[in-house]
């Protein structure tokens, strides 16, 4: 755990609208109102935070990794990135990032893909896509609503040769991203349970999600 880092003069732990502790490996969701700011904090460092966004008014509008990458002209997510929906609209804007690089091309781990990547013996290990299914089902959605996500704090360099591999995360304790909502958003997180690759340093840890109102 690290101390609170103040990114805007008015933003304190006393005036947060929402403050959530998300245990290691657990799912989470919350509604974020337009113009609120979300902070996702990698409390202990080196923890991949698999994240999806839906339009809170119409869940058929949701995060699109391909549209987001095309709009940025780049494969990675950082400060200034506009988070784009499948309808081509800006859902959120990334306003701060103490880490520097986040993945959106590798998607979430699943029990099924784990068998292919790491062997059939990993079939019965908890995985992000199960977290996502459990969490979106609370909102009337199902597996078909799960799309490729953002992996905050996960380091997946793509080489000019095409080589793509998950390597050690570069985030340290207390690293954070901040995103300003441009519409009412359903935020869905899987605090990744993956222990077969270095996205969590092979040891998943808790994270924190804070939300502030627009005037702060």
């Amino acid at each position: 755990m690290t101390d609170f880092i103040q990114t805007a003069p008015g933003r304190t732990l006393e005036n947060v609208a929402q403050d959530h502790y998300i245990p290691a490996e657990a799912p989470f969701s919350a509604v974020i109102r337009k113009s609120q700011t979300i902070r996702i904090e990698d409390t202990y460092g080196q923890q991949a935070v698999d994240t999806l966004f839906y339009n809170a008014e119409d869940f058929s509008e949701r995060y699109s990794n391909q549209d987001t990458m095309r709009e940025q002209g780049a494969a990675y997510i950082s400060t200034g990135t506009r988070i784009i929906s499948n309808e081509g609209r800006v859902m959120l804007t990334m306003t701060a990032d103490s880490c520097g690089r986040h993945d959106t091309s590798a998607g979430a781990c699943s029990c099924e893909s784990n068998t292919v990547r790491f062997g059939h013996q990993t079939r019965y290990l908890h995985a992000c896509r199960d977290n996502f299914v459990l969490e979106v089902s609370k909102h009337g959605m199902s597996k078909r609503d799960i799309v490729p996500n953002i992996n905050f704090f996960m380091n997946v360099p793509i080489e000019p040769s095409g080589e793509m591999t998950i390597v050690d995360g570069i985030s340290g304790p207390g690293d954070y991203v901040e995103l300003k909502a441009e519409m009412d958003i359903l935020l869905v997180i899987s605090n990744c349970p993956q222990i077969n690759n270095p996205c969590n340093g092979f040891d998943p840890t808790p994270i924190r999600v804070l939300v502030w109102d627009s005037e702060i």
Partner: protein, 272 residues
Amino acid sequence: MTRVRRSPQDIAANRARYEEHQKKGLEYAPKALPGTSPLPAPEIAPDKIIHREVIPGGWYWSTHINKHEVFRVSLDSGFSTLSLIAWSAAETSERLNLPDTMKVQWTTVLGKGRVIFSDMGRVMFSVTEDSSGAHDGVVGGSTSGSNAARYGEGTRNTRDNLILLATKAGLDKRDIPPALALFAPVRVDRNGAFAWKPELLHEGDYVELRAEMDMIVGFSNCPHALNPDTVYRPNPVTVTRIAATEPRSGDLCRTATAEAVRGFENNARAAV
């Protein structure tokens, strides 16, 4: 929820296992793969052709394909980019998954010898022939916005085409996965920026995709959003559906990588 953090011994053992996988994935497969298929594409025996569809520039098409049948997608009428999505015919919530396809094979370059995965860890297609190696699984199809920015208003785009074909297949826009763009020479530079590499494409390029399960497949023939041509001029693309042949033992796509082997084991288990 209380849990004990993993011990340094557990972490070290998991790291060693990952590094072994990574080394195999990065070093073994590229050596085992044969490179691109020679041109021109060989003739297809007429009695093997189930159907031939020439998709006009700007348009879409969807069809069924059965296990072990093959799609040959060919640029017989000049350059174009054809976007592809697919659903399992038996269970349409199982669908093309490009992040899994790329990460489990340790590469964004999907050429001859590679396979294309569903979100359920099963193989949907084997890439049995491919003359270009220039396909894009990262950025995918165009949208009304990306077309308007490049060409102005009024041109057909892949996002709308996929909504149309999904809807006509009884599905809806919630069912549309990110698309694989065939004949889109996209690479990623060291800073993560995208580059368009037209030198990777050749006249008459083709790719053959062997179906590894029964599927509904959709195609959209629209210029790729990163294609720098400022004139909207997609050419027709020919899709030929070829009769099934049983893969031989030692089939390249089924044996080239440990990941593909395990994917096909998942296909076999699903059939039980």
